[in-house]
C-alpha cells in the first residue's frame, strides 16, 4: 500500500504542476481576493490601510476655543482631512460633490459657553446615508477626540476646584484651633469654681457636727437624773412585795396545819363527825411562779444617750452640690470634617482600547481576511483537487487502470488525500508569507503555531472534499453541491466576517463546522496574539470534524470506485 500511496502522492504534484488554472486558484486567487477584501472592507474594522483620507466638512458656528480645539484635533488625525464650510448649504454641496466626503460636522453657536457652564453641548453631524459605513468609521475616530478634549477641560476645572478646596481647608483649620483655645479657657474656670465649692461644703459640715454633739450631751444628763429617781421608787416597791410573799408562804403552811386539825377532829367526833359543819373554803393561792416573781428585783431600763435624737430645731439647710458643673459646650470637632483631602468633582467616564491578548486593539484587516479567504480558497481548491480530481479520474478510467495495476483503493485514497493535505498546508503557508510581506500580516507570537489550525483545516477540507465526491458522484454535481457547501461553510464559519455578526441560531450551526474552529484559532493567534497552547483545543476540534468527514467519506467511497 505504501507504494500506492507514494505513487499517487507524486502523481498529484505532477498533475498540479501541469494545471495552471488550479495553480492560479491555489496561489494567486486567494492573495488577490484577500487584498481586495482587505482594502475594500477595512472600514468595518475602523482602519484604512494605505488609502486616501476621508474629508470631513466643518461648519464652525461657535468660534470659541472648544471649536478650535476640535478642528485642530480632527486635523491631526491622519485618516481625516478637514474642510471648513461657511454654512450648511456649502457643507451639503461639498458632501455631494467631493469624493470620500461622507459627512459634515456643525459646531453650534455657544458650544464653548455651554460647555464651560457645565451643560452638555452637542455637535450636529450631517451624513450621506449612502456612505453610512464610512461615516461610522469617522464617528469612531471623532469619538475619542471629543472625549480627549472634554477630559482635558475637566482636568483644568478639577485642578481649580482642588486649589479652592485647599484654601478652604486652611481657613477651617485656623477656626478649629481658635475654638479649641476657648474651650481650654472655659475648662480652667470650671476647675477653680469647683475648688471654692468644695471648701465651703467642708466648713458647713463641721459646724453642723458640733451642734449635734452638744444636743446629745444635754439629753444624756437628763436621762441620768430620771434613771436614779425611778430606781429609788422601784426599790421600795420591791421590799413590799417581798413581805407579801413571806406572808403568802406562811398562809400556805397554816392551811396545811388546818386541814390536819380538821381530820383529827373528825376522828375524835366519831359518829358525830357527820354533824360537824365543813370548814370555810380557802381562796386559791397564787402559783409558785407568781410568788417567785414577787421576789425578783425590778429592772430599770437603760436609756443610752446615743439613742436620743436631737429635736428638730426646724433648721433646713439647703442641699450642697458635690461638685461644680458647667454646662457642656457644643464645640464642633473640626478635625473630623475630612478636610484633609479636598473634595473632587467626578471626572468624565471615558475609555481607551486595550487588546485582551498581547496584540494591538487596532486590527489589521488582513489579519481577518487573509486567513478567512485563505480557508475559503483552500476549501474550493480542495474540492477541485480531491472531489473533481477523483471523479475525473474515475471518468477518465485512470482510477480503474491504477486499481487494475495492483494498487489498493485505500492506498489510492490515502495518497491522494495526503498529497492534497500537504498542498493545502503549503498553500496557506505561502499565503501567510505573502500577506506578511505585502500587507504586514501579523504572524502572532509564535509563527509556527499557525501550522496547527492550518493543518487541521487542510485535513478537514481534504476529508470534506472526499465526502462531497461521494455524495455528488458526478463532475456536474460536485461544483454546485461542493461550492455551495464550501461557501456556506466559509460564510457561516466566520471566514468573511466576524462570527459575532451572525444571529444566535447561525452561530449554533457554525459549531459543527471546521471553518469556525479554524478561524477561532487563527484569530487567537493573529489578532489576539495568544500563545500556541490556546489554539490546541480549537485546532483539535477542527481536525476531529475532519475525521468525521473522513470516516463518512471512506464509508461512501465505494460510490466512486463503482464501475459506471
Amino acid at each position: 500500500m505504501l507504494r500506492a500511496v507514494w505513487l499517487i502522492f507524486q502523481n498529484e504534484y505532477r498533475l498540479l504542476l501541469r494545471d495552471r488554472a488550479a495553480l492560479f486558484m491555489l496561489l494567486l486567487a486567494p492573495i488577490v481576493i484577500s487584498a481586495v477584501a482587505g482594502f475594500s472592507l477595512g472600514n468595518i474594522y475602523g482602519t484604512q490601510p494605505g488609502s486616501e483620507p476621508y474629508r470631513v466638512v466643518i461648519l464652525n458656528s461657535d468660534r470659541g476655543w472648544l471649536a478650535r480645539r476640535i478642528i485642530e484635533a480632527l486635523g491631526h488625525d491622519r485618516s481625516l482631512k478637514v474642510i471648513e464650510a461657511g454654512d450648511i448649504s456649502e457643507a451639503r454641496t461639498l458632501i455631494a460633490t467631493r469624493s470620500r466626503t461622507p459627512m459634515a460636522i456643525e459646531i453650534p453657536p455657544n458650544t464653548t459657553h455651554d460647555f464651560e457652564a457645565g451643560a452638555n453641548p452637542k455637535l450636529s453631524i450631517y451624513i450621506d446615508p449612502v456612505k453610512r459605513l464610512e461615516a461610522s468609521s469617522i464617528e469612531q475616530a471623532i469619538d475619542p477626540i471629543l472625549r480627549e478634549i472634554t477630559a482635558a477641560a475637566n482636568d483644568r476645572t478639577r485642578i481649580a476646584i482642588a486649589q479652592q478646596s485647599s484654601d478652604l481647608k486652611a481657613r477651617l483649620t485656623r477656626a478649629a484651633a481658635e475654638i479649641a483655645q476657648a474651650k481650654s479657657d472655659l475648662e480652667r474656670s470650671q476647675a477653680a469654681l469647683q475648688r471654692t465649692l468644695t471648701a465651703s461644703q467642708s466648713d458647713l459640715e463641721a459646724q453642723i457636727g458640733e451642734m449635734s454633739r452638744s444636743i446629745i450631751r444635754a439629753v444624756d444628763r437628763s436621762i441620768d437624773g430620771l434613771r436614779t429617781s425611778v430606781a429609788r421608787d422601784v426599790s421600795a416597791r420591791q421590799q413590799a412585795l417581798v413581805a407579801v410573799r413571806a406572808y403568802l408562804i406562811e398562809l400556805e403552811s397554816s392551811r396545811s396545819e388546818f386541814e390536819k386539825w380538821i381530820t383529827q377532829l373528825k376522828t375524835l367526833a366519831g359518829s358525830r363527825a357527820d354533824q360537824i359543819p365543813p370548814p370555810p373554803k380557802w381562796p386559791t393561792p397564787p402559783t409558785q411562779e407568781q410568788i417567785d416573781l414577787l421576789s425578783q428585783p425590778i429592772a430599770i431600763p437603760d436609756i443610752p444617750a446615743s439613742h436620743i435624737v436631737a429635736p428638730d430645731n426646724d433648721v433646713h439647710l439647703p442641699e450642697v452640690p458635690k461638685e461644680a458643673k458647667l454646662p457642656q459646650l457644643a464645640i464642633p470637632d473640626l478635625s473630623g470634617l475630612g478636610i484633609s483631602q479636598p473634595a473632587r468633582i467626578p471626572g468624565v467616564v471615558g475609555w481607551t482600547e486595550h487588546s485582551l491578548g498581547s496584540g494591538s486593539p487596532r486590527v489589521n484587516t488582513f489579519d481577518q481576511y487573509v486567513p478567512g479567504f485563505g480557508v475559503t480558497f483552500l476549501l474550493v481548491d480542495m474540492l477541485w483537487g480531491v472531489a473533481v480530481g477523483l471523479i475525473d479520474e474515475r471518468d477518465w478510467g485512470t482510477l480503474a487502470r491504477l486499481r487494475a495495476s495492483g494498487l489498493s483503493t485505500s492506498g489510492l485514497l490515502i495518497g491522494k488525500l495526503m498529497a492534497r493535505f500537504l498542498i493545502g498546508l503549503v498553500q496557506l503557508m505561502i499565503l501567510f508569507a505573502v500577506a506578511w510581506a505585502m500587507f504586514n500580516l501579523s504572524l502572532g507570537r509564535t509563527s509556527w503555531a499557525l501550522l496547527m489550525p492550518a493543518a487541521a483545516i487542510s485535513f478537514a477540507a481534504a476529508a470534506f472534499s472526499l465526502l462531497i465526491a461521494c455524495v455528488a458522484n458526478s463532475r456536474d454535481a460536485v461544483l454546485p453541491i461542493g461550492a455551495m457547501a464550501a461557501l456556506a461553510m466559509s460564510a457561516i464559519g466566520g471566514c468573511w466576517w466576524p462570527l459575532d455578526f451572525e444571529p444566535q441560531w447561525m452561530r449554533a450551526i457554525a459549531l459543527a463546522m471546521p471553518t469556525t474552529w479554524t478561524m477561532r484559532a487563527f484569530n487567537d493567534l493573529l489578532i489576539r496574539g495568544l500563545e500556541p497552547a490556546a489554539v490546541v483545543h480549537s485546532s483539535a476540534i477542527a481536525a476531529g470534524l475532519g475525521l468525521l468527514f473522513l470516516v463518512a467519506g471512506v464509508a461512501a467511497s465505494s460510490r466512486i470506485y463503482r464501475q459506471r
Binding site: L7, L15, G397, T398, S405
Partner: protein
C-alpha cells in the same frame, strides 16, 4: 521476452474464468461465463452492446467481484493475489484511461510504476512501449495535444509497458483512424507472438475474424459460442448467398434444376433475388439459368457466412445494433 516464450509452451491457460456470475441490482449481467485464454493466443470476446463484455473484463482485472465463479490469472486466484496481479496483467479500458495534462512519457511511466516496475525500469520499458506504438517523438507532449489515434496507441502502450503476461483489451480501436488501427493490430499480434495471452473485447466482427485465434460469443451475459472463427461460423449453419438485381423476375421454380441451390426470397418491386448455394462453382450456373429464363442480371453481390450470421443464428439478434453508437458493455 524469454520468460514469455516459456509460457507459450505452457499448457496452463493464462486466463481461466469459470462460472462467472454477476448481477447489478436484480438484473443479471453475467450468467455462468466460462472462458480461457492460453499463452500466445488472441481470444476475441464478441458481443453486441450490453452483452457483458466490459463486465467480464472488469472482473478479470479485479475491478469487480463476481457474485459467483472464479478467475485465475497465470495460475493465481485474483481474489487472493492482491498487488501481485499488477505485474501479470495489462488492462486497456474502454475509455482513454490517461491523464490529459501529463505527457505521454509520464503516463506510461506512472502506470508502469503502478504495475510494479522500479522507476528506472519503468523509464526504460516505457520508452520501448512508446517506441512500439510510434509515439517516441511525442513523448513529452501532454496527452491532450495528441490526436485520437495517438491517444489510443498511448493507451495501449500504458497497458503493455510493464511486459504483462496477460493483456485485457476492451474495445481498443473505437474511434481510431485506419492507420492507427493497423498499427494496433500489428502490435497486438506481435505481443501474442511473444507469448502474451490476449483477451480482445469488441463488437467488430471483422476484427475478430482477422486477428483472433479463437472467439467467445457473448449475448445477454451468456457465452453462446466458444471456438475458432470457422467453428463458430459453422455452428451458425449458414451457406454462401448471392443477391442479384434483375430487369425482371424469373418465374418461380427457375432454380429447381440446379443442385444445392435454393431461392431464399425475392423483392417484387425492386426486381431482386437472394439465392443460397453450397459451392462457389454454382454461381456461374445460377446466372446462366436466370438469363435462360428471359431475365437479365443487372448486378450481383456474393456474401460469405460470417460471425455475424452465426450470432444471428445462435441468438436471433443482430451482432450490431442499428444505432451504430460506440461500443458499450
Amino acid at each position: 521476452m524469454d520468460s514469455r516464450i516459456d509460457h507459450v509452451k505452457s499448457s496452463q491457460p493464462l486466463i481461466e474464468a469459470v462460472g462467472l456470475q454477476k448481477s447489478l441490482g436484480s438484473r443479471p449481467v453475467l450468467i455462468d461465463v466460462t472462458l480461457t485464454v492460453n499463452a500466445g493466443e488472441i481470444v476475441g470476446l464478441l458481443g453486441p452492446n450490453g452483452a457483458g463484455k466490459t463486465t467480464t473484463l472488469s472482473i478479470l482485472a479485479a475491478l469487480l467481484e463476481p457474485d459467483a465463479g472464479s478467475v485465475r490469472i497465470a495460475g493465481l486466484n485474483i481474489g487472493q493475489c492482491g498487488a501481485r496481479l499488477g505485474p501479470l496483467l495489462g488492462f486497456l479500458p474502454q475509455s482513454l484511461a490517461l491523464y490529459p495534462s501529463l505527457s505521454s512519457h509520464q503516463n506510461v511511466h506512472l502506470f508502469a510504476r503502478a504495475s510494479g516496475l522500479s522507476s528506472k525500469d519503468a523509464a526504460t520499458q516505457g520508452a520501448q512501449a512508446l517506441e512500439a506504438v510510434g509515439l517516441s517523438e511525442r513523448k513529452h507532449d501532454p496527452v491532450w495535444t495528441l490526436s485520437g489515434g495517438m491517444k489510443r496507441r498511448l493507451n495501449l502502450a500504458c497497458a503493455m509497458a510493464h511486459h504483462p503476461r496477460v493483456l485485457l483489451l476492451d474495445e481498443p480501436t473505437v474511434g481510431v483512424d485506419p492507420q492507427s488501427r493497423e498499427s494496433i493490430f500489428g502490435l497486438v499480434r506481435r505481443l501474442a507472438d511473444d507469448g502474451i495471452g490476449v483477451l480482445y473485447s469488441t463488437h467488430y466482427m471483422e476484427e475478430v475474424e482477422r486477428m483472433c485465434d479463437r472467439a467467445v460469443l457473448i449475448d445477454r451475459g451468456r457465452v453462446v459460442a466458444d471456438g475458432t472463427v470457422q467453428q463458430i461460423i459453422a455452428l451458425g449453419g449458414h451457406r454462401p448467398r448471392i443477391a442479384i438485381s434483375l430487369d425482371d423476375l424469373p418465374p418461380p421454380g427457375w432454380c429447381d434444376g440446379i443442385t444445392d441451390v435454393r431461392e431464399l426470397g425475392r423483392s417484387v418491386g425492386g426486381n431482386a433475388l437472394t439465392v443460397e448455394f453450397a459451392n462457389f462453382s454454382a454461381i456461374g450456373q445460377i446466372l446462366e439459368t436466370i438469363e435462360l429464363s428471359g431475365c437479365r442480371p443487372v448486378s450481383f453481390a456474393v456474401h460469405s457466412p460470417n460471425l455475424s450470421d452465426a450470432f444471428m443464428a445462435l441468438t436471433g439478434r443482430a451482432l450490431r445494433d442499428d444505432s451504430g453508437e460506440p461500443p458499450e458493455a
